[in-house]
Amino acid sequence: MTKWLEENTPKLVLAPSFIAVLIFVYGFIAWTAWVSFTRSRLLPRYDIEGLIQYERLFASPRWDTALNNLFVFGILFIVIAMVLGLVLAILLDQNIRTEGAIRTIYLYPMALSMIVTGTAWKWILNPGLGVEAMVRGWGFENFTFDWLVNPDMAIYTIVIAAIWQSSGFVMALFLAGLRSVDGEIIKAAQVDGIPTWRIYTAIIIPSMAPIFLSAFIVLSHLAIKSFDLVIALTGGGPGYATDLPATYMYAMAFSRGDIGQAASSAMIMMMVVFAIVVPYLYSELRSKDD
């Protein structure tokens, strides 16, 4: 009995979390899938009606925009935030005397609720109030920065604000990674006369592959969840030019009382995300564990 217990301790430790995830993630996804085949409006109903919600979804030009925006926003946001986070972490890793203060400055945006910070960003990005007006005030009359009010460019303002909010946390992740790299290896490389940048690209960064995975997952999670940001900054506008699947889904489920439609959009969104994420995770985990 004790032996059995000893052998199976790891499984027993993992079991409660695993069961919780099975129910509260996969069970709820199954629930959503079911509801997406119904005509649920204000509250969920369970009579299956077929693919009507998916037909409606794909007939909606607003959903097209939202899905497109997810790609544009998701890719730019993840790539830029990751690169910026890594660069900042490396810069901060150079024995900076004021590291504590700078680190907090880079991190603090995560602390602020976007409900209000969105308003500040809205003013900064507004051509009549913020950066454009300020630079023009310095004498550069032709300076233009009107992305916020331009339907084709507004999505990029969301990218800027999102990077502002999350790159600091990515930096923290990388910083923790940098600080766990074995100092002996670095010392040895230095003794061999390998230049610093080579030490980073050839030794340190490759050894942080698991941190990249964490950063990627955190950022994709934030990209999918980017909801407060859009609501506070553009409200999905101009028009619905900056709508994202999350805002679309929320609008359908909670302001329009169209839960069936919301469920179908959620399903498509999750499929898209899984189609991108699963291969990446698969290759990451496989190469690590062989």
């Binding site: 880079y106 209000v116 003013w123 766990s180 889904m249 959620a266």
Partner: protein, 297 residues
């Protein structure tokens, strides 16, 4: 402990080094400005009177500095028929965030330890499944979760909110610890096992002491997520258990009322103070070479 930038290139010219150093500080400073810009706008706005905001430039320095907005935000702004500011809601948020962060971090550490160091058949699949859970949009789980909480009898209560936050934080906390522990050589566990140490003993006396940087990262992430959560807070609370984000939202979001931007901004900064505090305190513990040093020894 090693320092790569200072000890290596000793033969490089002193001037080149100083120039590089300056460039480095300038770059860091410029980034700091970018990050600080919105905070600057928020603080200056919070120090203005409403009349000044209504007439003046939104992004100018205040003409007359007043702290009234801060006082109002803390203890006088209306969040409904009660006008007591964000103060009464702070306690709810603390009661939710601290247990939820502690439980999810501990569970994450144990899970990560199992997945990284005690691999059994299927452990990887289990880990992958938990990871994909990070990608579920929270809007999706609201309604079935509401039903579940109702059945469990903890709808609208603080334990209910803790439960929800722990569940949806597990994927991340497990991920963070797993990715940190995976880079610790498996020989360490093996050697300890040979010495007769068991599962918990190894975790407690070898892995936990190595984990400070990643505990810091995890706590920062979880605390921020839970403290700033609005969606769960608004859906799974009732009168008396609403967290501070709901109060903040009530102060800020009025559809047809007069908007007091100065109070909004002050309230937002006040609501963020605990997270900022965690960043300042926890940030100190990103200690270089902690793992490397101990593994070596």
């Amino acid at each position: 402990m090693t320092d790569i930038s200072m000890t290596s290139q000793q033969r490089q010219s002193q001037t080149g080094k100083i120039v590089l150093r300056w460039l480095l500080y300038i770059a860091l400073g410029l980034f700091a400005l970018f990050y600080l810009l919105p905070l600057f706008v928020m603080i200056t706005t919070s120090l203005k009177s409403l009349d000044e905001i209504r007439t003046g430039d939104l992004i100018a320095l205040p003409r007359d500095v007043t702290f009234d907005a801060w006082r109002t935000a803390w203890s006088g702004a209306c969040t409904g028929i009660q006008c007591e500011g964000v103060r009464p809601y702070f306690w709810n948020s603390i009661l939710i965030a601290i247990p939820a962060v502690a439980i999810s971090t501990l569970l994450g550490a144990m899970n990560g330890y199992v997945v990284a160091q005690w691999k059994f058949r299927g452990a990887n699949i289990i880990f992958s499944l938990m990871l994909f859970g990070c990608f579920i949009p929270f809007q999706v789980v609201l309604l079935p979760m509401a039903r579940t909480l109702g059945i469990m009898g903890i709808a609208g209560t603080i334990p209910g909110l803790i439960f929800v936050h722990v569940i949806y934080g597990l994927g991340f906390t497990t991920l963070f610890f797993r990715n940190y522990y995976v880079s610790i050589p498996a020989e360490l566990t093996k050697a300890a096992k040979v010495d007769g140490a068991g599962f918990f003993r190894i975790f407690w006396s070898i892995f936990l002491p190595l984990s400070l940087p990643i505990v810091v990262v995890t706590v920062i992430w979880q605390f921020t997520q839970i403290w700033n959560d609005f969606l769960f807070g608004v859906s799974f609370s009732q009168a008396g258990t609403q967290p501070v984000t709901v109060a903040l939202n009530n102060i800020v979001n009025s559809t047809t009322g007069v908007k007091e931007y100065n109070v909004d901004m002050a309230a937002a900064i006040i609501a963020a103070l605990p997270t900022l505090f965690v960043y300042v305190v926890a940030g100190k513990y990103f200690i270089r070479g902690l793992t490397a040093g101990s593994v070596k020894g």
